[in-house]
């Protein structure tokens, strides 16, 4: 299937793009477009993947969950490891040019899937974009780790979503010559020059906040036929701002900064999912069953579905968060435990759930999840959630045994034009005193209270949420 242009589907694709639509607004180019696009669709060079057999299905990843870190925050030892990994990858280009794990072959992956007009292959411009690139980086990351013998290796990311990291990361420009495996000689963006505020944001241009506030996946990640906002910018504009190889689909993967740029794009997706309870990925089987193929770290041709990359923490074993102690364990994952919240509006330990009972008695981590909890949205405020009305009314803060979690509601409009109600997902760690209460059989009814309210005017409100459940951190058997 790869490398074969399908004429019929190509024509359909071009028609879908609107080629031939009259330029009724009379812009210059449409009036002078020299030739039908069909004459120019052919790839200008080949970047087909090496020969392979039938794809093997993605197998469950049991490596420890590890954080991806901002490249400029790596320790010297981590920078050395990163450079060693890319040097090993580049060395394969000469020692075995057909090894799919080599740097040029890895770059060709992006070229093959992105510098094509065949919609069955092209991964830009539709809802394939985020899922495919997440999978691409995942296998790239595993290959780098394999080449240096470290399964705990995780790709760093650029971090241009923070104003502190708008310049090319120091390891990628130091030294700024070919002795550095992270160097690329074609970049237009000079070391020390920041990306334009208009593309990645500033104190007065809220590019990232505007992306994270997009209401639906169609707006954020696109549909089966359109792209979402961030694919154009900041994703596309950073490609162009870096320039050189990064400015073109067929060569972008030849610049190591590509993978750190896309790590930041991937983090945007993760952050968008967490920014609001309504920020959910498509449930359409047409999306979930999208299947992508890559060579893995053992040169095995793998297939992975979009549905298998959505939970990057449990499935792909990385997070964009600080390191947590239980992440060092292999096969650790969170298992949800329902408590029948919809019927009781109370939190009680499900008596029949032996695993949860054992987890609460033991030392394993247990979390309490509130899904789509409703908060007032008429002002910016911090709300504290407590296990009871009395605890909320007393509002003793995070040191209190009855405190569960805090939630900040930040409005981006002082004129209070937002809906009066909004929702958020909240996850609270179940601390020892709460464990004890649950084990005693106490029934809890959570309330929340605005933190800044004075005691006299403090008003605790009962938690309204679509669902409340526990999750138990546990070790799965490795297969």
């Amino acid at each position: 299937m790869f490398g074969n242009e399908n004429d019929a589907s190509r024509r359909q694709f071009l028609q879908a793009l609107g080629i031939g639509v009259a330029g009724m607004w009379g812009s210059e180019l449409l009036a002078t477009t020299p030739a039908p696009l069909d004459e120019h669709h052919q790839p200008t060079h080949t970047c087909d993947p090496p020969a392979h057999g039938a794809a093997s299905s993605f197998i469950r990843d049991c490596r420890p969950i590890r954080p991806r870190q901002i490249a400029d925050r790596l320790t010297p030892a981590e920078v050395t490891q990163l450079k060693a990994a890319y040097k090993a990858m580049r060395d394969l280009d000469t020692s075995d040019p057909n090894d799919p794990r080599g740097f040029r072959q890895q770059a060709n992956v992006h070229c093959f899937f992105c510098a094509t007009s065949d919609p069955s292959i092209q991964v830009h411009g539709t809802w394939k974009f985020f899922a495919w690139h997440r999978a691409y980086l995942y296998f790239h990351e595993r290959i780098l780790g394999k080449l240096i013998g470290n399964e705990n290796f995780r790709l760093p990311f650029w971090g241009w979503d923070s104003t502190a990291f708008h310049k090319l990361p120091v390891p990628y420009v130091t030294p700024n010559d070919a002795t550095n495996p992270l160097f690329n000689p074609t970049r237009a963006l000079a070391p020390g020059t920041p990306l334009p505020d208009s593309d990645v944001g500033s104190a007065t241009i809220p590019v990232i906040a505007d992306v994270l506030s997009l209401a639906t996946f169609a707006e954020f990640g696109g549909t089966a036929s359109t792209s979402g906002v961030p694919e154009g910018s900041p994703h596309g504009s950073v490609h162009v701002d870096v320039g050189g190889d990064m400015g073109f689909f067929d060569t972008a993967g030849r610049d190591p900064i590509f993978y750190q740029h896309h790590g930041t794009v991937d983090k945007l997706w993760s952050d968008w999912n967490r920014a609001a309870a309504t920020h959910t990925n498509p449930a359409d089987p047409a999306f979930l069953n999208l299947t992508f193929n890559f060579f893995d770290e053992n040169k095995v041709w793998r297939s992975i579905k979009a549905s298998q990359v959505l939970d990057h923490e449990n499935s792909l074993r990385y997070v964009y968060e600080p390191y947590r102690f239980w992440d060092i364990f292999r096969c650790f994952r969170w298992r949800p435990v329902a408590i029948g919240w919809r019927t009781t509006q109370r939190i009680t330990l499900p008596p029949a759930n032996r695993d949860l009972g054992l987890a609460l008695r033991g030392d394993g981590p247990v979390r309490l999840h509130f899904r789509e909890i409703q908060f007032p949205r008429d002002r910016t405020a911090v709300y504290d959630i407590y296990v009871s009305q009395e605890e909320a009314q007393a509002a003793r803060g995070a040191e209190s045994p009855g405190w569960l979690a805090s939630v900040g509601i930040v409005l981006n409009d002082r004129e209070n034009k937002h809906p009066v109600r909004g929702t958020a997902n909240v996850i609270a760690s179940v601390r020892p005193q709460l464990r004890a209460r649950l084990m005693r059989g106490d029934t809890l009814q959570p309330y929340f209270v605005e933190r800044s309210q004075r005691p006299a005017s403090r008003s605790a409100l009962p938690v309204r949420a679509a669902d409340v459940f526990f999750s138990v951190g546990e070790m799965d058997r490795e297969r």
Binding site: G18, S27, G232
Partner: protein
């Protein structure tokens, strides 16, 4: 294809009125009714760009005093340096909520806004600006 809910909030399409001399394009666009309370997106339809050039398009609203108020950016990397011809992207979407509210603060009663879109270049300051086009520009509440 645009989802129906977007069409529902669609302000009327606009047309290119004046074309500035620097390759930028201007459009007079109807302002949707609820800019202050809802998100607003700028839709660029049928954007045609050269396949061998990367293009960054920046959108500005022109204020009452002709001051440019930044709305947002979108970009299309090139296909290949060796490619020929053009490619068309059916729909590009820019979230202009913040910028348009800033513009509205200076143009309270305006029903239409002049939107200027320019190619910001490819990061290589020595490269010539691209020739590009867009069929239609719209402001919508998604």
């Amino acid at each position: 294809m645009i989802p129906g809910r977007i069409l529902f909030g669609l302000a009327t399409a606009c047309m290119a009125a004046v074309q500035p001399g620097d390759g930028a394009k201007r459009f007079q666009v109807e302002v949707p009714a609820a800019v202050e309370s809802r998100q607003t997106h700028l839709l660029l339809r049928d954007v045609v760009v050269p396949r061998n050039r990367a293009v960054v398009l920046r959108a500005y609203a022109l204020g009452a005093d002709s001051a440019k108020i930044f709305l947002g950016t979108t970009a299309i990397p090139g296909i290949s340096r060796e490619a020929t011809g053009t490619s068309t992207t059916a729909l590009l979407r820019i979230n202009v909520t913040t910028g348009l509210r800033r513009w509205l603060a200076t143009s309270r009663s305006a029903r239409k806004v002049d939107v200027e879109i320019s190619d910001a270049g490819s990061g290589d300051s020595t490269a010539p600006r691209s020739t590009w086009s867009v069929r239609a520009v719209e402001l919508v509440h998604p």
